[in-house]
Symmetry: C2
């Protein structure tokens, strides 16, 4: 039989780009993964067993349903307790929406708010998963200046006024990762958060707070969440179990006002998130939350220190500077102006070291002289060896 032609059938929004498959360098610092040594598979299986044994009829019935649009009730309850204890957020299971990863949570909120052409402000460098979604839904993204503490309130207000002046509209959303920011690792101080709430409120801009790294702190104490500093309803708070347990679980969540939850769910296609996984997380975390967090954070600290040691031994502070984060998964490195880590990325990758150069995180495409290095995934030894190798590759290529 001849080949059927789809030529006249394709939709305008689909493309013939080959599907995206991830390739891993030998030393893979380009990833965004937590420590595989810390993924508690046995604990999750035990957690699942605990729940199934405790309420087998209820579990079987609920598994043969399509999931509740907000996800499994007991995990919503645990999540509400967790973000009250950890983040000072007063909420309950009725106001928690479990999602297929925090990406879905961000996506639903974006779709509840954004029409094509609307403006969104983010940090100057910010998580590409969210900027990809914002682009997909037609938002204009404007990055606002950051320093080593993150967003700068005065600069934020300047950015808002600039958009109002140039585009004649007010931005609708400030999207921010205030704790262990991705990619820079910065932590936004409480006083700045308060100022930013005031500024956003003044202009009627909602805050989308992405707190997905808050559990990954290995030094010091967290700053209060935006959501705990305001009770006007302007903040949607997004969290995740990806960086506390494992991304492969695909379980994140958000909480917001009832009306925002209804709006966000009104654009949701498909059913609620996975109940099977929810049982495993629920059963596991009820007796292991602190152990799991401590275990991960010990791994993260050791790995970060190994990478930092290699950075100090390898690079000259006259042409490179790097962050020393107290949590999260990434070190952010900045070379002197004119260095182009973007154009040499494939060659360095082929020689064994993966990284993500800065322009991937910049709405305006800047940042070729910067890179995000994930210290969380590779082993301590590979973190050290990989940075040494990166140094010698860059020297050989006369980049540094």
């Amino acid at each position: 039989m001849g080949k059927f032609s789809f030529e006249n059938l394709w939709s305008e929004k689909s493309t013939d780009a080959p599907r995206k498959l991830v390739n891993h360098a030998e030393y893979d610092f380009a990833v965004a993964y937590p420590p595989p040594e810390g993924v508690p598979m046995d604990g999750l299986i035990d957690g699942l067993k605990t729940i199934v044994d405790a309420k087998s009829d209820e579990v079987a019935r609920d598994m043969s349903y399509y999931p509740h649009v907000q996800g499994e009730e007991s995990l919503r309850e645990l999540t509400a307790e967790k973000i009250f204890v950890d983040r000072g957020i007063k909420t309950d299971k009725e106001s928690i929406v479990l999602c297929n990863g925090s990406g879905e949570a961000n996506g639903l909120i974006i779709q509840a708010i954004i029409n094509p052409g609307d403006y969104v402000i983010t940090e100057e460098y910010v998580y590409m998963g969210t900027t990809n979604q914002l682009n997909y839904f037609g938002a204009n993204i404007v990055g606002t200046k950051i320093d080593d503490k993150g967003l700068i309130p005065e600069k934020l207000e300047e950015t808002i006024l600039n958009i109002k002046k140039k585009a004649g509209v007010t931005p609708k959303i400030l999207y921010t990762i205030p704790e262990h920011q991705n990619p820079t690792g910065s932590i936004l101080p409480k006083d700045r958060r308060i100022d930013i709430i005031d500024i956003c409120k003044k202009y009627g801009i909602m805050i989308l707070e992405d707190d997905c790294y808050v559990d990954n702190r290995f030094e010091g104490c967290p700053e209060p969440s935006f959501a705990s500093l305001d009770d006007s309803g302007m903040i949607a708070y997004v969290g995740s179990f990806s960086k506390l347990i494992a991304p492969g679980l695909r379980m994140g969540y958000f909480t917001a006002t009832d009306e925002l939850i209804d709006r966000a769910l009104s654009v949701k296609i498909g059913s609620g998130p996975n109940q099977f996984v929810a049982y495993a997380i629920d059963g596991f975390l009820r007796s292991n939350l602190n152990n799991q967090r401590n275990n991960y954070n010990k791994l993260l600290k050791d790995k970060k220190e190994a990478m930092e040691k290699a950075l100090e031994e390898t690079f000259d502070k006259s042409n490179a500077k790097w962050s020393s984060p107290s949590g999260g998964c990434y070190t952010w490195i900045e070379f002197t102006d004119g260095t182009n880590l973007s154009s040499i990325r494939d060659e360095v990758f082929s020689k064994g070291v993966g990284y993500l150069s800065g322009e991937n995180f910049a709405p305006n495409g800047d940042g070729q002289n910067m890179a995000r290095l994930c210290f969380a995934f590779e082993s301590i030894e590979k973190n050290y060896d990989g940075i040494k190798l990166l140094g010698s590759i860059l020297k050989d290529m006369k980049v540094i």
Copy 2:
């Protein structure tokens, strides 16, 4: 603090409709769920354990990755084997895409093809989950006449010609559930499938074959799949583990040509489907596929017979007729013209019996005198008692 106003922020596509929560009647025949008694929770936990024990390092590494866009490799391999053995489809793991339920599979294919205003043909009565998605993406849906064997090739060609004549365009997709059709339970004979392939090919229409009930046969042998009867690439084949194991797993799949897979994945937001669940399904099914299927189908058969017995004892064949399916989860009942099961649905629900009236499945809104009764979910006793109760409610209301 005052309440923050979102009034000027909502997107056009979001609505303030309250989130949809499912209420269950005492005798709930409105659902689309498999037998809860057959959900193999212990088997799934054992399956998960088998996989984790066999390859713990690989599992931990893969769990800390974001999933492959097509889903976990070993389950893709098993799925390819299963649909070759069961459905005669020659494919391999590279051409299987695991999805967050078969709903996501259908949705991705629809988005790869449909621009707003395009035409899609379906059975006259068909699964509302898909028509909801088609509506969401702006398709014009035209139902084509069916009989107790499903699609009628001559009527299909008439429908195509009518659309060409009236709208001046050719439909792009024929969406069909050929095996244990939802809601009618019909099974499309092989010779009709062959004729339908020829007709669709003649007009350049692709076939979206939704085979999600094929495992639920308790009598006779399945007809060959559309996908096994054609090698031109015009057929996208969708399947699911929802009705073989449990909907709560949220795991479905599709296979299609490489170019259609690329197109479908080009519109996918978010990452691949759940690996944790994939391990459990993979580990479970590798040693329990036939047991699980036989166990489910024994339950389905007994439950269907209990409902059928009650229907025969309760309703008069002069004013009602009902299907006697050889598989799937539903009996389709049709009362005499003029009976309106839609307008009395809430009252009957409040008296204890849930059903879905026919217009829910009809692109043109017809079918108020029909209803889908799910026999799969309630117990044998409740299937019998619930139908008897339905009869007495309808008699009391002077509907029959």
